[in-house]
Amino acid sequence: MIRRGLAGFVVLFAVLAALPFVRDQIGLPVFYLTLASTVLFWIAQATSWNILSGYSGYFSFGQGAFVGLGAYTTAVLTGRHGIDFFWTLPIAAVLGVVLALAVGALAFRLRSFRGEIFALLTLAVPFILASLARVNEGIDGGQGVVVAIPEFPEQVGLFPDFLFLLNLTIATAAVAAAFAIQNSRFGWALASIRDAEDVAEGLGVATFRYKMMAIAVSGLIGSVSGSVFALQIGFVTVEGVFGLAIPLFVIVMSVLGGRSHWLGPVIGAVVIVTMQDRLADAGYEGWRLIILGAILAVLVVVAPEGLLVRLQMRPWISLGTLAGVVGVLAVLRVWGEPLDWFVAGMVAVAVVALWPVRRRSAVPTGTARPRGAPVEIPAESLAVERPRPVLGDAVVEVDDVARLFGGVRALDGVALRIRSGELVGLVGPNGSGKTTLVNLLSGAIAPTRGGIRVAGQDIRGLQPHRVAHIGVTRTYQIPRPFVSMTVLDNVAIAIMFGLQPRSLADARRDASRHLDVVGLGHRADAKPGEINLHERQLLEMARAVAAGPKVLLLDEALAGLNPAEIDQAVRVVRRIHDAGITIVIVEHLLRVVNQLATRVIVLDRGTVLADGEPHTVMRDPEVVRAYLGKHAHA
């Protein structure tokens, strides 16, 4: 699929690249090529922005930093140091990547307020570069830099032809890269980060690495395209490249077109640039930014998913509108020229496509029965004593672990051995440290003191995705599916990013097997928004199991279910256990713990209060007191 698509880009490039050479023959005015250059520049920039901000959900206001870096690299090196233009492109590329990685290394460390803080940090970067450029006489010094027209091959024709070819090359490469990323593991990783970053990390996705890769690609495209921009504008000023116009444009373009697809920014760039051009041509210069701002403000509220998704929903009406409006204007010939007709047609399509739809309620109520009967899970009687599983070596070793939050001791002096094949119930009153223990075991937080080993490996300080690869995965009390993906792909992600990297097609095959185990096979193509809470909790389990753990941590996986659903969930947990996975289940329902667990650990105020057979532990007077209060009489 990727190869076929890339071949398509090569063909498209070849066709468009022929335009400058045949424009006299087909009667194409040079003006159109100049406009096309502008469109292509913005396609490259919007795509650069989208690879980072659209795919991964980290909104950047700093696109100007890349454009400015590229533009100044070319302007200063060609103008002041006499370096050939073509040599400045790779230099700009390297600088762009270095800047991107530096910003990423700083920004992606933050854990709190991630999205907003990232946006503000990226807002700061162009300001910093701008003030450096302004002060430094060797770069700008506040005067601006004139960019000389470089020498280019004679056959190309005029300078606008040359610019068109440069922009076309970069834009095609950028869009092809965005296409390839979207359809590879890289793109799926970014999508999972956008939907639920912690969950992705916990399932084995190396989120930091993928974010760094995304910002590096973004910086590379942004700065190389910025180099060509220097030629295009001919005179580089601090305000022109580091200002907020560039981020404004790329954000509006991507939001308008759609952020989750490579084609979105392309559509957005074409619509916005041609529209702006026509507005300026018609003398509405003062309205251009007002319209841009209004598009942004309205779209985010009305159609955050963008034009592309809407066009796909109403393809024929949209095509009909475009053909109709352009056709009528072309026949009447009372107003404008062909470009005006085309832009009018596009605006009409945008309005038609974005017109609010009466959507079928996206989230069916919990009682609504899904289409197709669920796979029945054989109802082994719950009360029946099952054969004891054969216990193996210790798979989890917790030694004298303490974890402090500020001055609060969430856990203190906890020591545990969990042997493979066990099904451990972890219980305790609220605030006793159960969730902290789960977070420690999954690597989400590190212990303040003490050691934690899984399958013999020390996991202290490892990132959660490494811990997942070693063999611990978890579910969340409130299910956190990847909302943009189908149920099947939610599970496939966990398989793709396991210890052995796998392709999507490959992973999907295994994923459907895991869905069958939890009885969700019939909902494979549904989006998480369309399934009920019970099904979402089963999906959590399927996803965590698909990652191939040695130890599965179930954090209140049965919360909020009705009795029938609980029984089904209990059967699923048994199946998973029977498949040879060691399970630690955090649960408030003691009935469930008694039925399921081979061993119960009771936590109270951060320490282990009791540990042993379910029946003996539950009769322990200390445990009863911790649970029911001091004055209870068991």
Partner: protein, 289 residues
Amino acid sequence: MSTVQAILSGALIGGMFAVMAVGLSLTWGMLRIINLAHFGMILLGAYLTFQLATSWGVDPLLTLAVTVPLMFVLGALLQWAFDRLGVVELNSLLVSFGILIIIIQTVSNIWSADFQRMTGEVNPYATGSLSLGRLVFPAPTLLAFGAAVVLVGAAHLVLQRTFAGRALRAFEQDRAVASAFGIDHRRLSMALAGASGASAAVAGMLFALSNALTPSTPFEWFGIVFAVVILGGIGQILGTFVAGILVGTLSGLVSVLWSPSLAPFVLFSAIILALLFRPQGLFSQGAAR
């Protein structure tokens, strides 16, 4: 200019930054709206002060009688719209960015992109100053500092002492529970956003007193004001005040020791460091959210 003078002037001008930042910080912290349109309201306030003073010779301070109610209504209306449309956090950043662009372009269409400044006749404060020995304090900076003290003090008292303030703080901590206790968050949010708009009007007036206006000025405020908001701790009123003074002093120092154009560089570096090491703000005790 001596270093001492630079530090003191910077600290006083910092009062203006605090006034600019306090509304932004409150709506961010309490309503989870990052309202970039706040900068647009400051700009509008500044231009209205300029226009009223220039056309009718109104004393710049008295223009507040018009701009404050106007901006209150504008802020409250905006909040009403955000609330109805369910816009929070990242989306609010985008939507209000769009609104800011609209305001800036509208201002530019009305007043042109050229610099505008109140003349000495209509603006008696521009030339006035207070001298203490060798140190000189221009009236606008003193006014800015005074306004900051009054506004921040009032906001602090309202939030700590009144029912509405307590209700807002309860709402900030847990929306669901606060609503269950019968707190009408819609009205309170609109009142808070309105008050934040009113503070923007004051900030605009203070800016117009001593500066020439141009529609793109808000972009120059971005850095400083966000520095104040983040250093002060999001939603922390007293922190915002202290951070305003700190940032003013810092940029005054940088300007006199190196160069005014390096001030943004130092400020943004300070923000980045603060974000990395104390994302909850310099003066906040609580853990980062």
